[in-house]
Subunit: 261 residues, 2 copies
């Protein structure tokens, strides 16, 4: 069996999407600040592989990472409106703690859950709502400088910069996934922007699976389904990671609320 993969924030929405669809694909270790009920663990994960810890606790984080080949780091304050003190501690300091522990324990790959909020301010009055529509050709592709929507987005952009530093100086592969709008079952209804950055649960799980399996140096990719409406390019994710999404928000109408689970 391959070495395990640590998933932080395992009880959150992205973590649960991953575990639901590719829970059987890896030997997981699961970390969350809250105890993880059985219903949120895939079959076969032993109690000793489930960690209750704060990601700013460097000892606890080292224990959880020791012997892992990769980490998918989702933990943090996920609220776009989170106050500065919380994102400073949970998202910025917490991510630095994770990187430091990952290089100390020899983890080879660090998959960082970044966010569309790192670049939300590209959605200027002059560009919207046109940029949300299928015929519009505006694209962000990961080479642009951050333009955060909020202080949460600042914290995610900082996580990307931390990854750049640790990759350049400590020989760890890093991929940053700027996650779009993850919703279960169907895309947001009557919300063009949400449809443009929609990420289905199964495409999310597949994308993170590819982040664990593919070879790369340092990457910033967008995590959305293959929507007709899009202003995030998924070309880099396809080319480098082998991302092959199956969903498209254009295939759903308001009367088709089918769960993909």
């Amino acid at each position: 069996m391959d070495d395990p993969v640590l998933l932080t924030g395992a009880g959150g929405r992205v973590g649960q999407a991953i575990l639901r669809h590719v829970g059987a694909a890896f030997d997981w270790r699961l970390l969350d600040r809250e105890p993880l009920p059985d219903a949120k663990r895939p079959d076969g994960v032993a109690d000793e592989d489930v960690f209750v810890a704060d990601i700013t606790d460097d000892e606890a984080v080292r224990d959880a990472l020791d012997g892992c080949r990769a980490v998918v780091h989702l933990a943090g304050d996920p609220r776009p409106e989170a106050p500065w003190d919380s994102v400073l501690q949970n998202n910025i300091d917490g991510t630095q703690t994770m990187f430091e522990a990952a290089v100390e324990t020899g983890v080879e790959k660090f998959v960082f859950a970044s966010s569309n909020h790192a670049v939300g301010a590209y959605e200027t009055d002059a560009r919207t709502p046109a940029m949300y529509r299928p015929e519009d050709e505006f694209r962000l592709d990961g080479t642009e400088l951050p333009r955060p929507s909020n202080l949460y987005g600042v914290s995610k952009a900082t996580g990307e910069v931390l990854g750049r530093y640790y990759h350049d100086h400590h020989d760890i592969s890093v991929v940053n996934v700027r996650i779009g709008n993850l919703t279960e079952g169907h895309p947001p209804i009557d919300y063009e922007r949400g449809q443009a950055m929609w990420l289905s649960y199964r495409d999310c799980a597949h994308l993170f699976e590819r982040c664990i399996l593919a070879d790369y140096d340092y990457e910033i990719v967008y995590g959305i389904s293959d929507n007709d409406r899009k202003y995030y390019s998924i070309e880099r994710a396809k080319a480098v990671l082998g991302y092959d999404p199956v969903d498209n928000s254009a295939e759903w109408r308001a009367d088709e609320r089918i769960d993909d689970a």
Copy 2:
């Protein structure tokens, strides 16, 4: 008289270079964590305009900023080898405190002392030492993503992202100056890299003067003299700020150690 300009970190090297050469050009307020001796203040600065405060103290910072038209924010841990906890507190949290107070008090311009260390890892083994030489055409121009040399550089890149957020959402003009190698009198001797990113004291003062006077939205510029050796473009600083440097490290030889003061 125009409204005052707050200079944080006034007692440091960059602050002193500015005050020495353009100390008479503005109505200054000076802030430093340490009491500022008379020798470090330009003539005419009243005691009530000199503040001893930590930049993470939001009340003290608001008092110092209240009524200012601009702030030149230099304060922070300046050590490239500074540990994470220090740059997290002094450089990242401190800069956020400054931005928050600046928008609350209606300051119009925020001049942020960023650093060459935000992009130091572009100096790869494959590029150096060729990139330090006059005939080499490699240039960084401020549109590239950060590649920090160290955690200090991560903190400076984060300050730039904070500025992007505050500019986009709070209508404050922001310029980030990625300061090169500031040395007094003459460029570093027998150190190609230092000569390539040399910034003389008088060019430094002139550049920050332009940052206080010019009109701009959000800018990232490089702060170096007009050196023959260069891998940082100064075109943006010239075009947007009206930067017009007079020094060039190529004009100095090891036997010409003349002070520019």
